[in-house]
């Protein structure tokens, strides 16, 4: 779909992003001039740090991806919310405090704390890089999805915009500002999603989004020709001749018959009333021939109750397919284990002064993130019936939902989401460049560097990572960002969790065991993803039937594989002599 731009929306967006960047630089400079880069972290109040946890964690995947999945497929998107939050339980109860007791500050240092092994440093640095890159892809794709409806720019322009802005931030500003910027973003994101939810409940449910007459069930066709030209129903795409927005309510329960709308509803009444209604969704069929790629979007009326239970996105669940169930179980296991294995989340645990403050801030983080994930259900369902969805791109559901209320709200929501992407991407590029400069070049390769050289290598690595992230962000345009981040969780959980858990709870763990577990977990999960049906179909553009892997999410196999490799290799190598 083509999207009209509004000067007011652009002005609000630009002002918001400029404000956050200004704040970031100002705090960054202040942090550097005070008692140093990292010392300032110890002074952060636990409540501020807790909300910053939420700001850090609620990336484009949570906001754009989950809302889009719920709007397009119903309840299954909410399963991501449940899994993403459950991961924090593992982080708080099992991993975080013992790791803090080891008294280390980075993930690689923690795993290596008892051994001083070059093999562990190398394996962990590479796994940090791989996880960071896979986490970067959905952020960049999300950035592209945001600027398309807001600024009227193509997807690639949004990706480049974020890539350049973030690389600029990382190269010029400091890390200390991140906590405050994430605090502000976290608060604003939850606050404005709360406002949106109140507006959704206040609007209630409206048949055909308040448009006159019944919903239009005419199929629509979008063709993309080999030369890139886009045709809608056989004619060139233009503002006058474009895809109709989709996603409406077809009918309400009988008690509202004749009125066409419910008026304001309470949170539970909204869900219960929707369950008794019918909605218009659409089936998308894609074919390819010499004239290009053709997508036919066929609207169809369905009971909303079908969409408010599992099985809309994970198709085989209701049909009883074993492979589909394994794929689903694998994803939910990866989400559960992944959060506690993400290097940039673990590092954040060290930013407050003591264990009690760290615990309290984690709980504030969990509460904030929990509230947000409850809101995602209403945002997604609100978008599903808003009459404003772009059937070609699920990532735009949340911004377009805001647009269904007002352009100002749309600009504010887009700006918050955009700065969320900026912050998350900056953090990931920082973590990745640190892995290159500190772990790979200095510790593994043994290159002695002055402070100045370390900074320069880190900045060069940041620029390199920025370019890689931009390229991948353009390549993965058509993917839902929530789905993409699931891959990052799979790799993180497979590579890092076995080593982390066994190091903490099994004294017989050896350095060779850790190195092997990280290497095998990472390689196996990465190879599985690259050979999966989803990648075959959506990335390589070849038939998914040719893919050798039985299902797309590797965690169910590769997480236990990591544990097995660690135990076997540890038992085959001499026991460590510590303790």
């Amino acid at each position: 779909m083509l999207h009209e731009t509004s000067p007011l929306a652009i002005a609000i967006f630009a002002a918001f992003v400029a404000g956050v960047l200004w704040l970031s630089f100002r705090l960054g400079r202040k942090g550097q001039s005070a008692e140093g880069y990292y010392a300032a972290h110890g002074q952060v109040h636990w409540f501020v740090n807790g909300v910053a946890f939420a700001g850090d964690y609620l990336s484009a995947a949570s906001f754009l991806g989950i809302c889009g999945l719920i709007a397009f497929y119903g309840y299954d998107g909410f399963l991501y919310s449940i899994g993403f939050l459950a991961g924090w339980v593992v982080a708080l109860f099992v991993i975080a405090e013992p790791i803090k007791a080891l008294g280390k500050f980075t993930f690689a240092d923690a795993l290596d704390s008892r051994f001083d092994s070059r093999g562990i440093k190398l394996a962990v640095a590479i796994s940090t890089l791989v996880v960071s890159v896979f986490y970067l892809i959905p952020q960049m794709v999300g950035a592209g999805a945001l600027v398309t409806p807001l600024l009227g720019l193509p997807h690639w322009a949004g990706v480049i915009l974020v890539g350049v802005a973030v690389t600029f931030i990382v190269v010029t500003a400091g890390m200390v500002s991140t906590t405050w910027v994430q605090f502000i973003k976290g608060s604003l994101l939850v606050f404005f999603c709360g406002v949106l939810t109140l507006l959704i409940l206040n609007r209630g449910l409206v048949v055909n989004a308040g448009r006159p007459g019944p919903p239009d069930f005419t199929p629509q066709t979008r063709s993309i020709r080999p030369d890139g030209q886009v045709l809608i129903d056989g004619e060139p795409q233009s503002a006058e001749h474009d895809l109709r927005p989709v996603g409406t309510l077809a009918s309400l329960p009988e008690r509202y018959a004749g009125e066409g709308k419910t008026g304001p509803l309470g949170p539970l009444a909204y869900l219960a009333t929707l369950e008794d209604s019918t909605v218009v969704t659409w089936r998308r069929e894609t074919t390819r021939d010499d004239d290009g790629t053709h997508d036919v979007f066929t609207p169809r009326e369905r009971p909303a109750a079908e969409l408010l239970r599992p099985g809309g996105y994970f198709k085989g669940l209701a049909g009883g397919s074993l492979i589909a169930r394994l794929d689903f179980a694998s994803l939910m296991l990866a989400l559960f284990c992944g959060t506690a294995s993400l290097p940039h989340i673990l590092i954040r645990y060290y930013t407050v002064k003591d264990a009690a403050a760290a615990r309290k801030s984690t709980v504030v983080g969990i509460a904030t993130i929990g509230i947000f994930y409850v809101l995602t259900l209403y945002l997604g369902l609100g978008a599903m019936t808003s009459g404003f969805l772009d059937p070609t791109n699920s990532n735009m559901a949340a911004p377009l939902l805001a647009k269904s209320f007002s352009n100002t709200l749309f600009a504010v929501i887009s700006a918050i989401a955009f700065t969320t992407v900026l912050g998350t991407v900056s953090g990931l590029i920082m973590a990745g460049s640190g892995a290159v400069a500190h772990d790979l070049v200095e510790n593994v390769a043994g290159v002695q560097m002055t402070d100045h050289e370390k900074v320069r290598v880190g900045k060069l690595a940041a620029v390199g990572l920025g370019i890689v992230a931009m390229a991948l962000g353009i390549l993965f345009k058509g993917f839902n960002v929530g789905f993409l981040v699931g891959w990052a969780f799979n790799i993180a959980a497979s590579a890092n969790l076995p080593a982390l858990v066994m190091l903490l709870f099994w004294p017989r763990t050896t350095k060779q065991g850790i190195t092997a577990a990280v290497t095998v977990g990472m390689t196996a999960s990465l190879a599985w993803i690259l050979l999966s049906a989803d990648t075959f179909e959506k990335v390589y553009g070849i038939s998914r039937d040719l893919a050798p892997m039985p299902f797309s999410q590797p965690g169910l196999v590769t997480i236990p594989l990591g544990f097995l490799v660690l135990v076997v290799v540890s038992l085959l190598t001499p026991a460590p002599r510590h303790r």
């Binding site: 919310s81 449940i82 339980v89 708080l92 539970l268 239970r309 599992p310 939910m332």
Partner: protein, 85 residues
């Protein structure tokens, strides 16, 4: 060395409270996933205020995570009070 032993002891007691609560959550999360895998039709049952079991379980799991984490810091706070670090 004694400092290291202190911190190790601290982490062991943390693990006992944390692991117990973790066990509770694994049962809740695992139980829900088993329900999704084994009986998706059951999840369509209306249970609470006209809301179906799928949504009630999902919201319940989110609330449970928050409640258990609050229980955890309260337990840890009372553990810290006798003067242990």
């Amino acid at each position: 060395m004694s400092q290291q032993q202190d911190s190790t002891q601290g982490s062991v007691s943390v693990n006992r409270v944390g692991l117990a609560l973790f066990g509770v959550y694994v049962l809740l999360y695992g139980g829900f996933m088993a329900l999704v895998l084994a009986g998706p039709d059951l999840l369509a049952t209306r249970v609470f205020g006209g809301v179906n079991l799928a949504i009630a379980c999902g919201l319940g799991l989110i609330v449970a995570a928050v409640v258990l984490s609050v229980v955890y810091i309260l337990a840890r706070a009372s553990h810290d009070r006798p003067g242990r670090s």
